[in-house]
């Protein structure tokens, strides 16, 4: 039977997007569980930020075998930026890493982010979405900085959940 390319791709595309959709939903379901277990005194933002830290630390460990110093600092920073941008790609967003205005600076620019829509569905404040992403990326950098002996920082410059049209994070080497 000949391959009907349109049919095969549609099926694959649907399955991919279904799986991506589950990423956000699963996260927010677990957030509910965590809040319930934490009791009425728990602050949702604190719980979210703690989760972001745990996730980031874990993702950072996965970066260590993939990154290397062979092509020097600029290439290293750009690779790191790309790896961070790729996290959005896996989730169904669109993000790229680009050279910043200053030496040793990389911008991660996200122009499509599925997280605000997922958050809305579960009644999660938009500011939490923005801050959790920043905290997660910061936690990714912890082990990477120590491992490669390069002091790194990342900070949120703009955020889609803040209604700014795109999310931009500035990754740079301190001192």
């Amino acid at each position: 039977m000949p391959v009907d390319a349109e049919k095969e791709i549609t099926r694959l595309w649907r399955a991919l997007h279904g799986a991506q959709d589950e990423i956000g939903k699963t996260y927010y379901r677990w957030r509910q569980v965590a809040l319930e277990l934490a009791g009425p005194g728990a602050k949702p933002l604190e719980v979210g930020l703690r989760a972001a830290e745990v996730f980031g630390k874990e993702i950072g460990k996965g970066f260590l075998p993939r990154l290397n110093w062979l092509k020097g600092e600029d290439a290293f920073l750009m690779n790191l930026g790309r790896s961070l941008a790729d996290i959005w790609g896996t989730e169904g967003g669109i993000a790229v890493a680009e050279k910043g205005a200053h030496p040793g600076e990389v911008l991660i620019r996200c122009t499509r982010d599925p997280w605000p829509s997922w958050a809305k569905e579960y009644g999660v404040p938009m500011e939490e979405v923005a801050l959790c992403r920043e905290r997660m990326f910061q936690a990714v950098l912890e082990d990477v900085s120590v491992f490669f002996r390069i002091p790194l920082k990342i900070e949120l410059v703009k955020a889609i959940p803040r209604g700014q049209g795109e999310t931009v994070l500035r990754l740079y080497k301190t001192a």
């Binding site: 039977m1 391959v3 390319a5 095969e8 099926r11 694959l12 460990k61 260590l64 075998p65 290397n68 110093w69 062979l70 082990d143 120590v146 491992f147 490669f148 002996r149």
Partner: protein, 662 residues
């Protein structure tokens, strides 16, 4: 006057004439060693999980001691701390208390019983340790790159002093146990190397900073151990000549050479030249690295220090070390895996029996098993790990002498043949091919060192000749021949069958078979699909990619190279990526068309892949002749790929075991 433990006279042996530099004496510290041969320390996971020596380890070591014919024979590195942070392997020998001395003494005695020099090794596994506890220790808390290792705790100065004292105390126990030589292991990412490397030592106190600071603990250990051992027992150290850690900003080669000089200044009596870390991204000892690739590092080391230099690393044949020692570029030929594969390897060299050596095929299964907390075994040596069992080491003669017909002169058939013949049977080997070796004739054509697989056949050929096996080559065994010969026993070592593709269009003229491609009988086009993602398929894919062909691999296994051990598989995956070979794993061929094939994934997606040739490498068990033998009432065994298609290792192990049993 240097101390000589045992007199050895090699002058009458052929090996001493062919390789004179290997069999001449050398002085190390105050000890005179009669030859240049060393069995290098080898962790084997044979000991109890609380560090006591077992019978299996003693027997294993005794065989290797026999092999070094008077040279150096080192036992595995011991861990030295009761907290077990330095323990890297579940069955690693311990030496943190006097209670371990009697067990260790058994090993020293076993080595001495073979009149060899007994070497003791001190090995704190540092950032790859703590196999039984939650944290390992190191100079700085640098995160682990590989998840299998435990998080690192930074050592305080008091911890450092403890470690120095543990080395000293363990050395004293080693001497009490009767060992003649002491070695500190600073190999592949263990504690010593963690302190030395700029990658893992970020300390700002006197134990960090520049290379002298990073060597401070090592110097204290060397000096303390020297004092504990006294003037008669030489103390050496294994040190990285190149860490191969430039991707994580490790030491430069110049810094490594400085460590050699500092160790010499501290009183080391020799240096064993090592390279690479378990964490480094470059391969060092797998089969794709040519033999002798690293020997230049010994020469460089000799230019930096005056004390003897020892080195291993893919020196599997005696010629190169003999030459290098003769040229003054190396002092001692170390061997690890070549003596796992054949404990008597240097003895056979000495006795002029090189063709009887079972060569290591550098597959790294031995290492892979250690990391999975399993006792070490060898891919190619069925006796390894069974040295304490005389049924394996010296199978008794057969009670009933039988006439045995072995069908197939591949590695399974040959292994079985010489073992059965050695036990007194009359053995006839038949093969429809005109030569021996079976599928290895084709397998050896795959790239990245697979020609070394053939060494197994050379060994088996010599053993068959020695034991009087009779060959009937160019003779296909048929039911008729079986009935005519009516042997007492038939061993079917006929290899696998390559079944016709069941896919629609499976009989298309573009479908060809693996062996015909690998032996050059069948030409293939420029755009090829190889069906089957186990090692034979991968070998074929790489072979064709090297010829400039575009290759796609399609196979049912979840990952390509599922049958290759993880310590080697990563190499194949990198070569495939570099060659642009696309692998569709968890997939089948649904149809062969004029344009190519239609691939179907395990979950039902379908897509076309254009190609002009499809090569079938999937194999099945071979049932031919089985029924015929059974119906004649002949005792029957099926071995190797004929039983279940696997690999060279299973062929050899099956052959040996059935050869022992008949």
């Amino acid at each position: 006057m240097a101390r000589l433990l045992y007199e050895w006279d090699y002058s009458q042996y052929p090996g001493a004439k062919s390789y004179p530099h290997l069999f001449k004496p050398i002085q190390i510290g105050n000890l005179s060693v009669p030859n240049r041969i060393k069995y290098a320390a080898t962790e084997d996971n044979f000991n109890t999980h609380d560090g006591f020596i077992t019978d299996a380890d003693v027997a294993y070591m005794r065989e290797r001691a026999k092999g070094v014919v008077g040279g150096l024979c080192f036992m595995q590195g011991v861990y030295m701390d009761p907290g077990r942070q330095g323990q890297g392997y579940v069955g690693q020998a311990a030496c943190w208390d006097d209670q371990f001395i009697p067990g260790l003494k058994r090993i020293a005695d076993a080595i001495h019983a073979e009149r060899a020099v007994a070497g003791f090794q001190l090995m704190d596994c540092g950032r790859v340790g703590a196999v039984e506890v939650d944290y390992c220790h190191g100079p700085s808390a640098v995160p682990q790159r590989l998840r299998i290792f435990k998080p690192v705790q930074e050592m305080s100065k008091a911890d450092i002093q403890d470690v120095v004292q543990q080395h000293v105390a363990a050395a004293r126990r080693g001497v009490a146990a009767g060992f003649d030589m002491m070695e500190i292991s600073g190999i592949v990412g263990y504690l010593i190397s963690n302190f030395i490397s700029s990658y893992t030592n970020r300390r700002t106190d006197e134990y960090g900073g520049d290379i002298r600071g990073r060597m401070r603990m090592v110097v204290e250990i060397i000096q303390g151990v020297k004092q504990a051992c006294g003037p008669d027992i030489p103390v050496g150290i294994r040190l990285c000549s190149e860490e191969l850690l430039d991707d994580v900003r490790g030491n430069t080669p110049e810094e490594s050479m400085q460590t050699y000089q500092i160790a010499e200044e501290a009183g080391a009596d020799y240096i064993s030249c090592t390279l690479g870390w378990q964490e480094s991204i470059y391969p060092v000892i797998s089969r794709d690295i040519p033999m002798g690739n690293w020997i230049h590092l010994a020469k460089r080391a000799k230019q930096h220090v005056k004390i003897p230099i020892q080195m291993a690393y893919r020196l599997f044949k005696p010629g190169l070390p003999n030459e290098t020692i003769g040229a003054g570029e190396l002092d001692i030929w170390e061997m690890c895996r070549s003596m796992i594969a054949d404990p008597l390897m240097p003895k056979k060299v000495l006795e002029g029996r090189e063709n009887e050596i079972r060569h290591c095929v550098a597959c790294n299964l031995c290492l892979a098993r250690l990391f999975r907390d399993a006792p070490m075994t060898c891919y190619i040596n069925p006796v390894c790990a069974h040295e304490s069992n005389p049924e394996f080491t010296d199978p008794p003669p057969a009670q009933d002498k039988k006439r045995i017909m072995i069908v197939g002169a591949g590695p399974a058939g040959l292994e079985c043949a010489y073992m059965a013949a050695r036990r007194g049977h009359e053995v006839h080997v038949y093969d429809q091919r005109s030569g021996i070796g079976g599928t290895l004739n084709e397998a050896r054509n795959a790239p990245y060192g697979d020609d070394e697989l053939w060494t197994c056949i050379e060994y088996q050929q010599a053993m068959c000749a020695k034991t009087g096996v009779q060959f009937h080559l160019g003779t296909a065994v048929t039911e008729q021949l079986l009935q005519d010969e009516l042997p007492d026993t038939v061993v079917l070592a006929t290899g696998p069958v390559y079944p016709q593709l069941t896919a629609k269009g499976g009989d298309h003229k573009k479908v060809v078979y693996l062996l015909d491609v690998m032996n050059g009988k069948t030409p293939v086009g420029g755009n090829v699909v190889v069906y089957g993602n186990r090692k034979p398929g991968i070998g074929c894919a790489l072979h064709l990619a090297k010829q400039g062909k575009k290759v796609t691999l399609v196979g049912r296994e979840k990952s390509a190279g599922f049958d290759v051990n993880p310590s080697f598989k990563w190499r194949y995956l990198i070569y495939m990526r570099q060659a642009g070979i696309n692998a569709y794993n968890g997939c089948d061929i649904e149809e062969v068309t004029d344009e190519g094939v239609i691939v179907r994934s395990y979950d039902g997606y379908r897509w076309p892949v254009a190609c002009d040739t499809v090569i079938v490498s999937e194999r099945e068990a071979n049932a031919s002749l089985k029924q015929a033998a059974l119906s004649e009432g002949i005792e029957l065994f099926v071995i190797g790929d004929a039983l279940v298609p696997r690999n060279l290792s299973s062929a050899v192990h099956d052959g040996y075991r059935i050869g022992m049993r008949i």
